[in-house]
Symmetry: C2
Subunit: 211 residues, 2 copies
DNA sequence: CCTTATCCGGAAGGATTCCCTCCGGTTACT
DNA sequence: AGTAACCGGAGGGAATCCTTCCGGATAAGG
């Protein structure tokens, strides 16, 4: 909305590095990593961090906003790809701190979710994102790729679990494992893969996930 | 090995409650939960905890030993059930703090894994457990239930990711979700469910997982 | 019931970790 | 070169955590 372009270029660069570092560390270790560590990873002093973001919550909010925006872009692109949209969206799943962070914070961490719910901008983006994903899920089912007895909530939660687990164990597990585990998980979501599921399909309602 | 039966019955009861509490909290929140919280959950003072376990490592070691022993029992029973062994072993997957803890600590947490590796008793049980699981996997494949392009490492890691994720989000997610997510995951491991997996089957070798 | 060895709870000291401010020095722009 | 904006990191203060210690309670045995 506003134009915050009063930043000197070095300041701007540092700001971006801070957000990037925070994004990664939040995704890996949760939203309570020490500020000093974020600063160090960004190649910056703590002072710089606090000058740009008055407190931890401000930083979390900014990371949430940017991550959600990036994801929405990807989701929209996947939707535009037409029939193969669902598959191509899944192709994005790897190596994207925005995704790690967003999934983990939206579905799992109550602390971060609160920050998102209290920020109109982030909330709006999150809702739009969820609705696009919902469309992708429906499209996948129409195309016959995705099993019909699940709903968006199932997909989001399942992927979140695996993804955030993999992220948390970064380093402890060989890199080649990631793709394999993800593939196995997605196979469980494919048409024709099996058993009768207990419970009912998890709708996102739209907002079981965002409330 | 030895008979540590010099414990008074109230002391014995407290000791067991401490181990149970630690097991649950370790599984939920990792091995660095405050000692005082473990004590509170056990309905006991910190003093009691420290009298029984000189430091955190001693407590972790005991929890590891007991959890591994319980799991080995279940695994053996499943094996004795014959053809349906694999399925019945999977039936045990739910609601078992021993499992949460063991999977999480063996596969994910380097800190706890170190403790296990340094304790001959725990290590021996872990190796035996892994070998029994290995047998169950092979049996499942022979029976045609389990897809042939995976190995024990794949199964253990995938289940660990989902299980420990679910455990970490205890409370944040409705209870009915657990069974559903687990079922979806297992469907990915079933025969005929799909895609060609990237990478090679993960053997446990025996000790990729325990080293 | 009474003695006594054993055990219990939780207050509190000491150490660690973390948040955040502040200021002397540096860097980008004109 | 001059100046306004920016940087880094030391350090005060608060919070958390680990561990010890001891007056009081409790089970076992006669």
């Amino acid at each position: 909305m506003t134009e915050p372009q009063a930043l000197r270029i070095d300041a701007r660069r540092n700001r971006d590095q801070i957000v990037a570092a925070a994004k990664t560390l939040f995704a890996e270790r949760g939203a309570d990593v020490p500020m000093e560590e974020i600063a160090r990873r960004a190649g910056v002093g703590v002072g710089t961090l606090y000058r740009r973001f008055p407190d931890r919550e401000a930083l979390v909010r900014e990371v949430a906003r940017e991550s959600l925006a990036v994801l929405l872009t990807h989701a929209n692109r996947a939707q535009a790809d037409g029939g193969q949209g669902w598959e191509s969206f899944l192709g994005v799943l790897e190596n994207l701190p925005d995704l790690w962070f967003t999934l983990r914070s939206t579905v799992l961490s109550p602390a971060i979710r609160t920050v998102i719910l209290d920020d109109p901008e982030a909330l709006a983006t999150a809702q739009e994102l969820l609705s696009v994903i919902n469309g992708l899920v429906r499209a996948g089912q129409q195309a016959g790729t995705l099993r019909p007895d699940v709903d968006t909530g199932d997909v989001v939660i399942l992927i979140t679990l695996v993804i955030s687990g993999l992220r948390a164990s970064a380093g402890a597990l060989p890199d080649t494992v990631h793709a394999r585990m993800l593939a196995l998980t997605l196979d469980g979501l494919r048409t024709g893969s099996g058993s009768t599921l207990p419970g009912k399909p998890l709708t996102p309602d739209p907002m079981d996930l965002l409330r």
